[in-house]
Symmetry: C2
Subunit: 476 residues, 2 copies
């Protein structure tokens, strides 16, 4: 039985259609009965599990512990921090009935957990000896969204949220920047997504934060994606939730806090940055399957090829590689090549009668399509080197694309032209006022993605007033 | 600064007070603003993480993959399987407002996910080649409970739920039993909790299942705890949600399904089975900290002892053990002994000036209190053996307790006397009718915990009719 082969739309032709089709064809996610809530299918979830493991190891290496806090937040708790509730109120889902009774106070499904975690922290933090308190939780959160897309914007999504408490403003700031660095390292070393890091403008800050830092990636279509954020909360929540401690001088003082989050949204980023007309490209470090063996057989030599391919499969698995062998008999090798390219498997290993004769196998890279013949003896080692090359090459390609699409604008006309025609990041001075920020957004749909750590002085392109470097882009 | 030491209630004096106090003092969980919803604190969560890793490895070894399905289930979906909604309806929490608008159809927070997962499966399953479908998810669920206790019964809890689809009734039954075995192995090998396995009576079956299998543990106070269940769903959900496939003969037929779950409730079981008057006892395989080093120092030799303890800490960590060193200077060694016994750390390693002189350390077992002097050279190996002995001994002790508290009743008077005075498991024939089951429950509060796989014939103690072995107990 041969199935009709669905053809993937070209990425350049219709990126939006390409994205949705790819998510479906690669079985990453699926639509459910409630608008904006998706199932993450096993292949998509296996990628998320590898991201989780990577990040979780980094969190633990920097002294953080995991915990779990309740899903539902009473309305009165959300209202304690005024800016916070203002920011999240439009997106809340409310539980009003429990156990067949109308609730006295309605309960929000967490859109983020500051307001419930701070309530616990006000009990757990009593003395300077309880600090720093370094806790993270992996959980689901819900923000009622009008326009949704799998991974990139969904009402329910999975994430981690770190919530820490410190004795001084300086320590909280250091933690905020440390976790920004942890995220950046994960993007660069594991996801092969180069990100720019810096501060958000006040208008783009997390509701209730003193300062928000961000990792911004550039997608294949030239739009930016806010990939992870780290917030310095100062004493805002400590004051609203009464988180105080006795310091070494026995004075009761307010604590300083941070929070930071990274979500399944990055899987959308992964697709958009690395995917191409053939489908996904998963960086080897994240790939649920690093290499797939496709036996090339015809009727008469099938038994021999199958047995050799099985042997090879065992050898490669025994060497610690994540390898699959595709012994399906319904489809041709060509069909399988397409299928595994669509799924973004980094390396294909072909083995046929000629290869057996020559005691070799064929390795084909997903990132470049390059083919090489490798002696069977050194295959695991060669595969390992190749996977590490692919990881590096994917990062290099993405960085080159990002750099080629980061432009300095010398005038507002040029700024508008770049955003309209090429997109990408635009570097330009900003006078620091919400008015010019708002004007640019209205004219061009571009927003300030970040204020880099190293800012140059210059004249704002709109107001002509003196300003400092900001990086603009149209964003997801 | 010396803190007032809170004294733990004796387990035998007031098990319920002991339990709650221990949960608080060992920082396992804490109460939040919404009734029945607890935070799992880092130490409690670290135990859960180890359980998760253990189970997840077993699931993957038996061919299962993880995925994630939406939190919210439309009312109409829950209603598709009639028994299922009847069973869960009283415990549901309903979302009625989202994004500031009243919803057209109210959405339940999942109490379990059959009804949303089956909707996806009706699309994913089309051909016999899509089967078996073996998926698990780790998530939070919510069942509105009136009387709650941390871990043992809470409105929100964490669990895993496996949901599989098969071509035949036989395969579904095999899967149900396989996963029951996976749970039993995890209880026996990792949690050191001996469980009885068998079938539930129809009255205790999962709402919508054809057959429910269970793992039942016996707690220290003689009450039973349903620790994990595995359900053969037959075609009930397949018919309600239209999960059909084309079989090899090209006929469209209904599929067979299973589901199985294991929750944070077992942490309550762990406390109740192993805990004693000194506090927790964590089986080494689950212990976030396998051994804690307590340096025994006085003013003049502090520097030397500290440096030796640090060296020892490094050595033991390098050998792959999960070891903590307690260098706190506020508290005495005696205070620390109590603290780490309360937390259930399996082994305490003491090192003082005399030990340094003799090139040895002192190992103290949490399970028996036994002390031994061990030469420094062979310490990692000895510790490893000791930890494995402790794991075995905890399982042996719990099994002896369970066996000593499993009694055969020869008459209904004896049955009632055992339940009233000694509790534990009572083995007696049951005639298979809901009437006698109900009568026993009303008279004694004991319920049928399970019908063992190997049942003997005998006369029902209540009706005198012919029956087969059932195992009764009062349950949590």
């Amino acid at each position: 039985m041969v199935e009709a082969v669905e053809k993937l739309t070209k990425k350049s032709e219709d990126p939006s259609r390409w994205y949705l089709q790819l998510v479906r064809m690669a079985k990453l996610a699926d639509y459910g009965p409630v608008r904006g809530m998706f199932a993450i299918r096993p292949y998509g979830f296996a990628i998320w599990e590898r991201i989780q493991r990577d990040l979780d190891d980094r969190f633990k290496a920097t002294g953080h512990q995991n915990a779990y806090f309740p899903l539902l937040i009473p309305e009165s708790y959300l209202k304690k921090e005024a800016e916070h509730v203002e920011g999240f109120d439009p997106e809340l889902a409310w539980v009003t009935i429990g156990g067949r009774e109308k609730l006295e106070e309605r309960l929000a499904i967490r859109p983020t957990s500051e307001s419930i975690i701070c309530d616990f922290y006000s009990n757990w933090v009593q003395s300077y000896r309880d600090l720093p308190l370094l806790i993270n939780q992996w959980c689901n959160v819900l923000r009622w969204e009008k326009v949704t897309r799998p991974f990139l914007r969904s009402s329910e999504f999975l994430w981690q949220e770190g919530h820490t408490v410190h004795a001084t403003a300086e320590e909280a700031r250091e933690e905020t920047l440390q976790m920004l660095g942890v995220y950046r390292d994960c993007f660069h070393e594991t996801l092969a997504i180069p990100v720019l890091t810096g501060m958000k403008s006040p208008a783009e800050r997390f509701a209730g934060a003193v300062e928000t830092y961000t990792c911004e990636g550039l997608m294949g279509d030239g739009r930016a994606l806010q990939a992870a954020t780290s917030h310095d909360l100062g004493q805002n929540f400590a004051k609203a939730f009464d988180i105080t401690f006795l310091d070494e001088q026995q004075d009761r003082v307010y604590a300083y806090q941070t929070s930071w989050g990274f979500s399944t949204r990055v899987i959308g980023g992964l697709i958009l940055v690395h995917g191409d007309d053939r489908g996904l490209k998963i960086p080897p470090k994240l790939a649920p399957v690093e290499a797939v063996i496709v036996p090339i057989w015809r009727g008469k030599n099938k038994a021999e090829v199958r047995s050799e391919a099985e042997k090879l499969h065992m050898e490669l698995k025994a060497s610690g590689l994540r390898v699959e062998a595709d012994f399906d008999e319904e489809h041709s090798p060509g069909w399988k090549f397409n299928e595994h390219e669509l799924r973004g498997v980094p390396v294909r290993v072909e083995i046929g009668p000629k290869d057996i004769e020559k005691n070799q196998a064929v390795l084909v890279r997903r990132d470049t399509g390059e083919k090489e013949f490798v002696p069977r003896d050194g295959l695991p080692e060669r595969l390992r080197t190749l996977l590490s090359d692919i990881q590096e090459n994917m990062m290099r390609q993405a960085t080159e694309f990002r750099d080629a699409n980061t432009r300095h604008a010398a005038s507002y006309d040029e700024f508008q032209e770049i955003i309209a025609q090429k997109r990408g990041f635009v570097v330009a001075p900003w006078d620091g006022t919400p008015e010019t920020e708002q004007k640019i957004k209205e004219n061009t749909k571009a927003t300030i993605r970040l204020l880099p750590f190293d800012r140059q002085e210059g004249a704002d392109l709109v107001s002509g007033k003196s300003g400092k470097t900001a990086i603009f882009a149209r964003a997801y």
